[in-house]
Symmetry: C2
Subunit: 338 residues, 2 copies
DNA sequence: CTTAGCACTCACCGGTCACGAGTGCTAAGC
DNA sequence: GCTTAGCACTCGTGACCGGTGAGTGCTAAG
């Protein structure tokens, strides 16, 4: 790949992602590479097809980027775009006007991300591996049944229904919770087993402590919270004009577990990662690309933001916008409990 | 509308909902009304068109039901279908294998309902107007901020972030919660203002009591929990073959607030109610029908189950299946906290 | 190595036309 | 007077077809 081939590949990607028309040598010469003649470009295009970076729909058609071409573009040619000020403002405004609750912020983030990417946005709620126990509350609901509320560091809260002895009334439950709070605060799930036994410990307290440990361990279960928005954008994409293909894609995407697992694959390192076309393990999604990044709340809590669209994505623009949404989502969630 | 016209309308609806082909007089005679001749049926069809129950796409085409025709069918001709045993079994199995949590059950219900209706299913989570306070817990998260957990009758729980005095530690918060529990248990939101002042009442307790009242009042905020599944089914409907129309419909449906408000319009009386085609206030949804019903958990908690599809719905079948899902959803949710 | 010239390919578009399902009308039958 | 057979007519559907033009690959000259 010499510099001129890279320029041509870049031009093909730029033009095709915008127009969705296979790009010909004349178009390239006129619009992007005025100092090279169409004939030369034709020779280079032929080479790029041979190398697998471009595809030719039929003999007398222009070229479109292949999955490999997009991959090369994303890895080596993607220039950092900046988000336009007015877009930045509108995003900030959308977040500011969100109702003051974590779920609402996730919904707003999904809505904003789908609007900015003009595609489908998927978000997973914050998770907290290895978080430290902060406080436990027990609320009796009916005889033999209580609600366990577990709060951990970084504003994360989970509730769970548990069984308790029939005769335990609210005062008893409060006492048990109080004992657990004094003994186990600040510990992680793994350390809860190390809590020493004491004389005044109620018989039920140990069992409930085990439930607390379980709750801490399962805070991160994938698929706990998945918000998505923007299916309407997908159906507008000409790539999904065929109802059968659209149906196949949506069937996969609506099975939230699968998307959640895919998002979970992404390492929580910084930056946006891409899964392009046939790189995806799921056959039905070979015409789609995923862009995935993470957001941080406080120190350890993390969630993922994904954008799903046709391989013909405006990678540069969407990546820049995802980074913006990721940062704001983290900042906003920092204010609320999830 | 004499009996024969009704039979013909019923036959047209039955055939068209199944085949999506405008129904002709010969088809009707051969398949549903063998004792009447096609010519007679033609005369009746012409009358039904004049009365607005049927439409004729073009001069030499068969007839399709109009919105008014569907309405008449739903109101007067809908026969109670029974759910096939194997379907009933599969539904029960799906519910039984749901993870033991309220959200998971709602998701399962949405998945089952969309599968059974072969359309889009929308569910709202349980709400509880006028519920009585059962228990309050306060969990300090950081200085000046605490988590308020409110449990009411019928297994309903809500949490909310509130401001508290900077110097209030967990012991103080627990004391406040304890005071509220002793004073205000069993009261509704409206009755909380009547709680008498006492000597040992902390200054912060009154403010938090007001937050509790607010939480009780907003338990029912529409759109709190909306689960949907089955967009994939909509795109397979030939009615939505046009991407523009599909986009318009999805845009409306994805704005959850609108759907939630629509579901909220439905009175919580028993039975399935229908909004057919242009009866819908939203212009974009004039090609769609809504079927809505409610489910009950315990005594007062209620949520709604909706099915959205093209006006060409298999009303009889879907209604029967909605009643099944509604009953099971209520029974399952009765076991868990929401 | 680059570029002008040129013959060739092939998807796309619009027009034509045969086909057939279904109708409305008329007149005969019960 | 309602029902029905016969029949001409309508009109959407789909197949066929040839012109058009964008774009190519190849060749030879610069």
């Amino acid at each position: 790949m010499d510099a001129r081939k890279e320029r041509i590949l870049q031009a093909v990607v730029a033009d095709y992602t915008e127009t969705m028309i296979p790009v010909g040598s004349q178009t390239l010469a006129a619009r992007y590479l005025s100092e090279i003649s169409p004939a030369t470009i034709r020779n280079e295009l032929a080479d790029l097809v041979l190398d697998g970076f471009l595809l030719q729909p039929h003999t007398s058609a222009g070229r479109i980027p292949s999955d490999r071409g997009y991959r090369y573009f994303v890895d080596f040619l993607l220039s950092a775009e900046t988000v336009e000020p007015q877009v930045r403002r509108s995003v900030r405004h959308a977040f500011e006007s969100a109702p003051p609750a974590a779920e609402a912020i996730l919904e707003v983030a999904a809505g904003v991300m789908s609007r900015l990417s003009e595609n489908l946005a998927v978000l997973t709620g914050p998770a907290a591996a290895g978080s430290r126990l902060k406080h436990v509350a027990l609320v009796g609901l009916r005889p033999g049944q209580a609600l366990l509320v577990v709060a951990v560091a970084d504003n994360l809260v989970r509730q769970r229904l548990i069984s308790v002895p029939e005769e335990a009334d609210q005062d008893r439950l409060t006492a048990i919770a109080s004992w657990i709070n004094h003994q186990a605060s600040g510990r992680t799930a793994d350390e809860l087993g190390l809590v020493p036994a004491t004389e005044d410990e109620p018989t039920a307290a140990r069992a409930i402590l085990a439930e607390v440990a379980g709750a801490l361990r399962t805070l991160d279960l994938p698929g706990t919270v998945v918000v998505h928005d923007g299916v309407r954008n997908l159906v507008s994409q000409p790539e999904f004009g065929d109802p059968h293909q659209l149906h196949a894609v949506l069937t996969v995407l609506e099975t939230q577990r699968m998307v959640a697992e895919l998002l979970a694959l992404v390492q929580p390192q910084d930056g946006v990662q891409a899964v392009i076309g046939s790189e995806n393990a799921v056959e039905e999604l070979h015409g789609c690309s995923f862009l995935v990044t993470t957001y941080r709340v406080g120190d350890r809590m993390r969630g993922t933001i994904g954008v799903v669209g046709p391989t013909r994505l405006r990678y540069g623009r969407v990546v820049a916008r995802m980074e913006l949404v990721s940062r704001l989502t983290g900042e906003m969630l920092d204010r609320y409990v999830v």
